[in-house]
Symmetry: C2
Subunit: 401 residues, 2 copies
Amino acid sequence: MSGETDKTVLGALRHLIHHGPLSRPELGTALGLSRATTSPIINDLMRRGLVSELSTTPQGQRGRPVALLDLDDERYAVTGLEIGSDRVLAGVYSLRGRQLLRIERSATPDAVNPRGLLRHAAAVLHEALDVLDQEGRELLGVGVSVAGLVDATSGTIKYAPTLGWRDVALQAGVAEALGGRAPVLLDNDANLAALAELRRRRRDGLPTTSLVYLTGTYGISAGIIAGGQLWRGERGLAGEVGHLIVEAEGRKCVCGRRGCLDTRAGLSAIIATCLENASTPRRAGRTPIGISAGVEEIASRAQSGDAGVLEALADAGAWLGRGAALVCAMLDPRTVILGGHYARLAPWLLAPARESFRRALLMPAPEYEQLEVSGLDAWAAAEGSALAALLALADGISPLP
Amino acid sequence: MSGETDKTVLGALRHLIHHGPLSRPELGTALGLSRATTSPIINDLMRRGLVSELSTTPQGQRGRPVALLDLDDERYAVTGLEIGSDRVLAGVYSLRGRQLLRIERSATPDAVNPRGLLRHAAAVLHEALDVLDQEGRELLGVGVSVAGLVDATSGTIKYAPTLGWRDVALQAGVAEALGGRAPVLLDNDANLAALAELRRRRRDGLPTTSLVYLTGTYGISAGIIAGGQLWRGERGLAGEVGHLIVEAEGRKCVCGRRGCLDTRAGLSAIIATCLENASTPRRAGRTPIGISAGVEEIASRAQSGDAGVLEALADAGAWLGRGAALVCAMLDPRTVILGGHYARLAPWLLAPARESFRRALLMPAPEYEQLEVSGLDAWAAAEGSALAALLALADGISPLP
């Protein structure tokens, strides 16, 4: 196959990932190609098992069913791995983004070093591969998500404050654990979750020109979609919203500085403040609590009406709203989306966040419902990682099957 | 001419604005067109007088001169008008961006109302038109720049804090003053200055994937270039860096809130603080000083070593550096550029700004010289406004001559 054909095949694949399902003429028009040129491209993708044709009757219409092209949902899988300080998540997805399998493994605080977490990651990956082998599905790629500053080109974590890591070649480590069975890529959790949010919104017909997805997992980090594209920053370091300094003489942050937004509205800070303020204290002598367990604990205390916890959550929500307003003053996105565990805590965070958000905006526009909760759960980054592994095929980074 | 030809003609014009001068084969390749298809497009643009062919010998090479296409620099002009609280600037430029004429008119503080400033604007425009008529140049468009939140689509100023204006249909006002002689467009000064900076850097062969241009005229506002494109925000409100709240209990801002960056590092604040701290006070009873005059006054005091002024400038520089670091944490641009009057005050602002900038960055990278001073002067927004008027032709917004 010539280089040029390759490029149009990749373009067609990319378009179907973002905009499928489509009829053959719709795909041809979008690619600016004639019917005669489109046909061999589609045949190529179908022969590879990446695309299949489904017969469907258009909604609310009678008559002949229409053949639509979409990604094939049966033959392949992509996997998203999220590596965090308290757990490793592996989500296995079909090419259309259906979750086929989810594996969660808690990490003990003493194992929060690259070798310990890589062991966990290797274990969940092999568990996932076993299931895929049994089902006869082929793995096309693995995306790895981590909360921190990532150099996606070299596959290195430059700095992950919540893990305390600097310059860790995580992509190579996961690739080794995988034994070369599929290509591996690494990116920041916020970028990856924003990709998942973007696909979800596209498929739901919501506006997607611009959005900022705020992670609510470890630190607060932003995935920025501007002009319909992910903006990673010149060095891949865009979106470090958790480390915006919001108080001149603020609390000490894990990054070594003072007054970062994370010290007020990051989940570690929220959990710590809630538990300090709780009317019934935690039993003494218990081990430090991880993020996911901590979120469940404060959610259950909030549910039961613990006044100290409710107050702490309202305060955190107000800081979160101020942080979201900083994002808007800078970027003016269509929507700021509270993701990850913020969705779980939304019943108590969202109202105070929205109130302080509107107060801190320079030009509040009631017609823009700008502070929203993600429809994706704490698996957003894993889902986005799997999607990024799929997009790597269309971008010519990973080889087509 | 068919609609399709029109589109390719506009595409060729746009490419020459951004990347000219180019040889015919270079232009054809960039547009993905054959030699046969490119020729009539070029002929069309030459017949309209928008493009001319110049014969040049490639640098450092011998032999036959090469014919290069570029925008014609003789027949037409575009004008940029900057309307501020203390002055109206009109810059007349050739299509290649050569400044042909500059007119500056001070506004008295009592005339800072839409009608008063429009009168000034009309006067400088007519002065410019007279010169163009004498020279036999035709005006292709006028871009109008204002510091504030602008709805470019409707040509309305939504909110200009330094002018105290809300919902002013400025574009229509200027168009009326111009008597329909050329199309008029309106945009925010930061966006327009960033466009001028982008063209300057492209022509100088500097990297232009991403940059943030901070205006130093009235409030601090950012023109954001991401992925080589201007990001205006979903509602055109991106880049309100001056209204990032940087202090919880800060100084009162003209926008009605407290603690905005403008109250520390905006030029009004800098001038006021410098004059308060000056070792020899200003003569009492003098009228309030405008921005441009104020900048000259504090520059001359700093030059003569006034310790109070130097201290105030260093303090403002430190705040400016912190503001630039907020921009970087959010966007990770290749460069943050201090524009407008900041360039004039750079001898005293830049060192403290760079120091606090590096301290406030999460990941300082010495290889990135990220905080720079613009090569453009306080006329950047006027130059960008004229460029925007030219780009409006290529975007099909204004009619081709």
